[in-house]
């Protein structure tokens, strides 16, 4: 397959706490094409952040592979070490949710943005300055403010600083973990448009993790729905939002309040909450909240199967 950038194969993560194993991620399989944006949605505790962190190796996955397609061939990003690690880590960057917590308050904006260059390249000060100049222009930051500290900036400006920092090494893949969730509506639109512009310009690939479904619909080419560490549904954005197949996807989409008082949707209000991942239900993890659960759902885990170009894990879809 050409044009593939990333292949996630059977990725699992088990957290051990007080002798209890919590399976945060179970057998995630995902192939990401170059220049694509994959939206990853689900409720708190569904494993979407864990997935993102495993991909950047912020945490170590328990098993599985993250195959990264580079010009020099395919490498397993989870196994590389030392010099090789330093070399390829540049290609995968992350943008965080909280622009207040993700910037060091004691560093100037210039230092924050240029720090990756100092560690990863042998650029001279002059070259570093030029690179920072270029990137601040691109993300819409005022150069006059580069010597200031993060506290002097608003949330939207800080998120631009975070984006500049993640872009400065010219990565191929960016994991955006709730990158616009903490921002106000008008600022959120600015950042979304910026992310789209940058993607076009640098041929970036995004893993866009978010619980804001309307934002995910806007920005993603494909969407992965997760529940309790598992893949529930994966498909093209348009298809998935127009005709969700899995009952969980249906409920999730119907729960989004629409900004129009005359739109009435048949809201599926789910009973109960996400079960404790330390003690997951038998069979399909969604069955205790599912209106269509059968005996089979209660006993056996549904496999991820393809229906009309969509991957769905549900026994009731024929």
């Amino acid at each position: 397959m050409d044009n593939v950038l990333l292949e996630i194969k059977d990725l699992s993560k088990v957290y051990e706490s007080k002798g209890v194993n919590v399976k945060a991620l179970s057998n995630i399989n995902l192939t990401v094409k170059k220049g694509e944006t994959i939206g990853i949605v689900g409720e708190s505790g569904c494993g979407k952040t864990t997935l993102g962190r495993c991909v950047v190796r912020g945490i170590d996955a328990t098993s599985g592979e993250v195959l990264f397609h580079t010009d020099e061939g395919v490498i397993d990003f989870l196994k590389i070490k030392g010099a090789q690690m330093r070399r390829y880590r540049k290609d995968i960057q992350m943008i965080f949710q909280d622009p207040y917590a993700s910037l060091d308050p004691r560093m100037t904006v210039f230092d924050i943005i240029s720090e990756p260059l100092r560690y990863n390249t042998k650029m001279s000060n002059r070259e570093i300055e030029q690179a920072v100049d270029r990137i601040t222009d691109q993300v819409g930051l005022n150069k006059a403010y580069l010597r200031r500290y993060p506290h002097a900036f608003s949330g939207g400006q800080r998120q631009r600083i975070g984006i500049a920092r993640s872009l400065i090494l010219q990565p191929k893949l960016i994991v955006c973990d709730e990158a616009v969730s903490a921002l106000d509506v008008s600022i959120q639109a600015q950042i979304i448009n910026l992310l789209e512009d940058l993607q076009r310009e640098y041929d970036l690939t995004y893993l866009f993790i978010s619980h804001a479904l309307s934002v995910v619909r806007h920005i993603s080419n494909r969407v992965l729905v997760m529940y309790l560490g598992r893949m529930v549904e994966l498909g093209e954005t348009e298809d998935l939002f127009r005709n969700p197949l899995h009952p969980y996807t249906k409920a999730l989409l119907s729960a989004v309040p629409q900004p129009d008082p005359d739109v009435t949707i048949d809201r599926i209000v789910l009973e109960g909450e996400v079960p404790n991942p330390a003690n997951p239900p038998s069979g399909c993890p969604f069955h205790p909240r599912c209106a269509y659960a059968t005996d089979q759902c209660r006993k056996e885990m549904p496999p991820l199967k393809e229906y009309d170009g969509r991957l769905v894990a549900c026994w009731n879809i024929k």
């Binding site: 509506v185 959120q188 789209e196 479904l213 934002v215 729960a255 789910l270 909450e273």
Partner: protein
């Protein structure tokens, strides 16, 4: 501890429209921070009918939370307020809440019992040191002099059941950390129900929750409002929730209400450039995905050293130079009940470009 007497209580009697429970008149709040003065709320007027839900929307720093906290008298001491907040108590008397001592007996009797509030983060609204039952019955014991520990516990159980907490007999003796976020928000709603308030201030009550849990909580609030008939002041930045929950909407920007109307007027016929921009910048589920999002340029300025002007003038694409940036903009009526604070509404004023 509760000995403090009100000096100013019953100073003057006020009149408000018989169907209203709350009227806020020309409210101004100034906050002194370090060496400057923030004019956080600038001449806000609105009223709330019995059983009505009013949405107060706007972005961070627009003054929506300061306004709501002023009603409850819980703003810190560095906030100075002017104007009137007229509230009709359960006994039918109309009080100007701004005249009451924040920690006086009258305000304490109203706060929590007649006007109640639920907060954005249920996780921080409870003390981690006491059980849920303890914290809920405290309210009843404080406000109802005839209540005993046993009767309060009965009432707490009843309320926990009402808000859909399963197995309340067990849950009542648990601590907040044993509850999930959604369950804690339910418990917080139960707490506010304990005293059967007439006015509920809900400050971003579902922002910290997942969408499916949010749907549950909104559903619950709707049914409880039907049952108890309380008025709700719903503060949120989520226009989707406003469209689903509110009867009327006040859009705030930089401490002012820039547009006020029924939920249909605001969503189907937005008139203020800020409201229009806000609605257009939302990614919508029914929108073409290739369309770029509309952007309101710039950021919200700090309300320091405000001279008379439209607060939105420097971000507005239709700003009338020489008018919007130098004059206090009055309110215009776009249609009955639909108020817009924008010069463009004036007859004969031409659009530039």
């Amino acid at each position: 501890m509760f000995k403090k007497k009100d000096k100013k209580d019953q100073a003057q009697s006020y009149e408000i429209s018989p169907e209203h429970i709350l009227e806020v008149r020309n409210l101004n709040v100034r906050i002194s921070v370090d060496d400057y003065l923030l004019h956080a709320v600038r001449g806000v007027n609105f009223s709330l009918k019995k059983g009505e839900t009013l949405g107060l929307v706007g972005e961070s720093g627009c003054g929506k939370s300061v306004t709501s906290k002023e009603i409850l008298g819980i703003n810190p001491d560095n906030c100075k307020s002017e104007g009137q907040i007229l509230y009709r108590t359960k006994s039918g008397k109309v009080l100007n809440l701004l005249e009451l001592e924040h920690d006086g007996a009258t305000y304490r009797a109203i706060r929590g019992s007649e006007i109640s509030m639920i907060f954005q983060e249920p996780m921080t609204a409870f003390s981690p040191l006491y059980t849920i039952g303890n914290q809920l019955s405290e309210i009843i014991l404080l406000h109802d002099k005839n209540a005993t520990k046993a009767s309060a516990r009965e009432r707490v159980l009843e309320m926990l059941r009402k808000v859909g907490i399963a197995n309340p007999e067990k849950r009542i003796d648990q601590y907040p950390h044993e509850f999930s976020g959604g369950m804690l928000q339910r418990a917080l709603i139960a707490m506010m129900l304990c005293c059967d308030p007439d006015l509920l201030i809900a400050d971003e009550p579902t922002t910290a929750l997942d969408v499916t849990i949010q749907a549950q909580i909104l559903e619950l609030m709707r049914s409880l409002q039907k049952e108890f008939g309380m008025s709700i002041l719903f503060i949120t930045h989520d226009l989707g929730i406003v469209a689903n929950m509110c009867d009327n909407v006040a859009v705030m920007y930089l401490g002012e209400i820039v547009e006020f109307g029924s939920v249909r007027q605001i969503f189907h016929n937005p008139c203020h450039p800020y409201t229009k921009g806000l609605l257009r910048s939302l990614p919508r589920m029914d929108q073409n995905r290739d369309e770029r999002l509309y952007i309101i340029d710039g950021v919200v300025p700090l309300p320091v050293d405000m001279h008379p002007c439209c607060g939105f003038h420097d971000r507005c694409g239709e700003c009338l130079v020489g008018i919007c940036d130098t004059q206090q903009i009055p309110e215009y009526e776009a249609e009955p009940g639909h108020m817009v604070r924008c010069k463009l509404m004036e007859q004969g004023v031409k659009h530039h470009g």
